[in-house]
Subunit: 334 residues, 2 copies
């Protein structure tokens, strides 16, 4: 568990895209952000107050979150200087970078001397159990995709937000690095040891109130040859009551696999239902989430109407048009 609130470290981000982790935190948990820390030459801006470490500390920030990708897989000397100063100032540091904070000897030494914690969210910090398959209390909704990176995290976050705005009980359950930094907690599923994948999802989504929904961030796709095992573990470990199918219609082949076309929504529905109903016979597909970011308003509206017609289910782009229809469908499950 990462202590909040955060100071978002944007470093020397060469453009806005390099700071997309910070953007995600700012968009979804603005209340967790007291300000931003930018270095000379930083081209990203979260429209948060620029603060020194001391100012952020005084404003209550507990953790410096690295919200920017590093260049060339190296933590530069310029960054290092800020990170060490932050530890000395009393901040923990959280990072989703591939090169781990814990492998930087100077950071480890200073963190130890100052009694601070280095959070590498890319790798698990917990010894997860083996899954038991036992039914848990409360309800769970899982986003499953036709492909990787089609908007499963955004779908779960949008639905969680809509649920909370309606006064309904909901928790976003992060299964990837960005999601973990957004919420401060979660399972970095792609880095979990094979035998413990489903168990890590049971751990992430424990017993809860009967009317509480876990909105589980999906990963991979049942049809993605590289990562399908991860998706399978989410379905069996999550025991979802509801599935939302996620799709990006303009993609020409599966991400990273030029020889593979995307499966149809029908194929994903049938495969996911076949697998999920084994662990939860009451599971239902409640709707379709379409990522229309590369489509015009007219094309997006037409595509959503076509999908609704073909699938007989509500379809929306929850980020563009709101998650209302998906949350309505969840509520209708009772």
């Amino acid at each position: 568990m990462i202590e909040t609130p955060y100071l978002l470290f944007l470093g020397d981000a060469p453009d806005a895209l390099a700071a997309k982790v910070a953007q995600g935190i700012k968009d979804w948990r603005p209340g967790n952000c007291v300000g931003q820390f930018r270095m000379e030459g930083c081209k990203a801006d979260m429209k948060l107050t620029d603060m020194t470490l001391a100012e952020a500390k005084a404003a209550g920030a507990k953790t410096l979150v690295i919200g920017v990708a590093n260049r060339g897989g190296v933590i530069s000397p310029a960054w290092k200087k800020v990170l060490i100063a932050a530890l000395e100032e009393g901040f923990d540091i959280a990072s989703g970078l591939h090169n781990l904070l814990r492998n930087e000897e100077d950071l480890v030494a200073v963190a130890k001397a100052c009694g601070r914690t280095l959070h590498d969210v890319r790798i698990p910090s917990v010894q997860y159990p083996i899954a038991t398959g036992v039914k848990r209390k409360g309800k769970r909704c899982l986003a499953v995709g036709t492909d990787c990176s089609v908007g499963k995290m955004y779908t779960a976050l949008c639905m969680d937000k809509e649920m909370k705005e309606r006064g309904l009980k909901s928790s976003f359950r992060a299964t990837g690095q960005t999601g973990i930094l957004i919420t401060g907690d979660g399972v970095p599923l792609d880095a979990v040891i094979a035998d413990f994948m489903a168990g890590s999802i049971e751990y992430l989504t424990p017993d809860n109130d009967d009317d509480h929904w876990d909105m589980i961030e999906g990963q991979g796709s049942l049809f993605h040859a590289s990562y399908s095992g991860v998706t399978m573990a989410l379905i069996h470990g999550g025991q979802p009551d509801a599935l939302v199918l996620c799709h990006e219609p303009t993609r020409e082949h599966m991400r990273g696999l030029p020889d593979y076309k995307l499966p149809s929504l029908q194929q994903v529905r049938d495969m996911a239902m076949g697998l999920a109903s084994w662990v939860n016979p009451d599971v239902k597909v409640v709707g379709i989430s379409v990522n229309t970011q590369h489509m015009s308003e007219e094309d997006a509206r037409a595509y959503l109407a076509k999908v609704e017609e073909e699938m007989g289910l509500p379809a929306t782009d929850p980020y563009r048009y709101g998650a209302g229809p998906l949350v309505d469908a969840l509520a209708a499950l009772g």
Copy 2:
């Protein structure tokens, strides 16, 4: 790669079952075994020549393989004495124990001083790639089960043996600890990091001759809530041309999951075919392997006849009655 031939270490095995790893090596790769090393009180016997370390060394043994489970998860002082002497004598040591050789400081120090290697086959020794999903040359057969521990390893080993006896090209591809110790190589799939599972199977089963078959050891089950993700990675990473369904008819619930009945052979066939055909449209289910060890001769024969009738496919217990029908079916694929 573990150097052969082996001296099988049976330690102070309290009974034959405790030495089942040694038994597997002796049964399947007798040519790899120069002898056995037994301590005071050992109740297991592989019917190999009892040898001292020096005698085994003189007979050409390269690696001492721990073929026995240790009690209480501790490598006892009595074992330790033999293991250290083996390193000093010039043996490598290979182990599938949960507690790793590499965590024993004295073994590590002596191995280093003697220039010997400690093989912990329970954890990967390779940084596996991400799967590409690209079609490889050669053919692959995967054993998929209704449950864990129904005989998938024995099925693949029996088929590999039958193939070789017929002069056909075949390699047994191990995906578990016992299989790795039997062949000296393989992927400990249950210990691989999630993102690399399918890639590890592509790595294990690379391009080969057009008429060569990899007999891939299966793991878990698509219907086992704890381990289904591992099975999924085998199907997508293995891109099998042929599937053999494996079943144990007397089991009352899935292994470790008292709330779950076993799926039917039809359910496993349909689910496995749906997933496998995505990466290899030509995949076929070629036969059924039934583990009849808990059935009388009469019951076993009757059950096999019933399954053949119901499934329209050859069915055998390859360990009890030979793998002939399964290999015939592979050969018929051309």
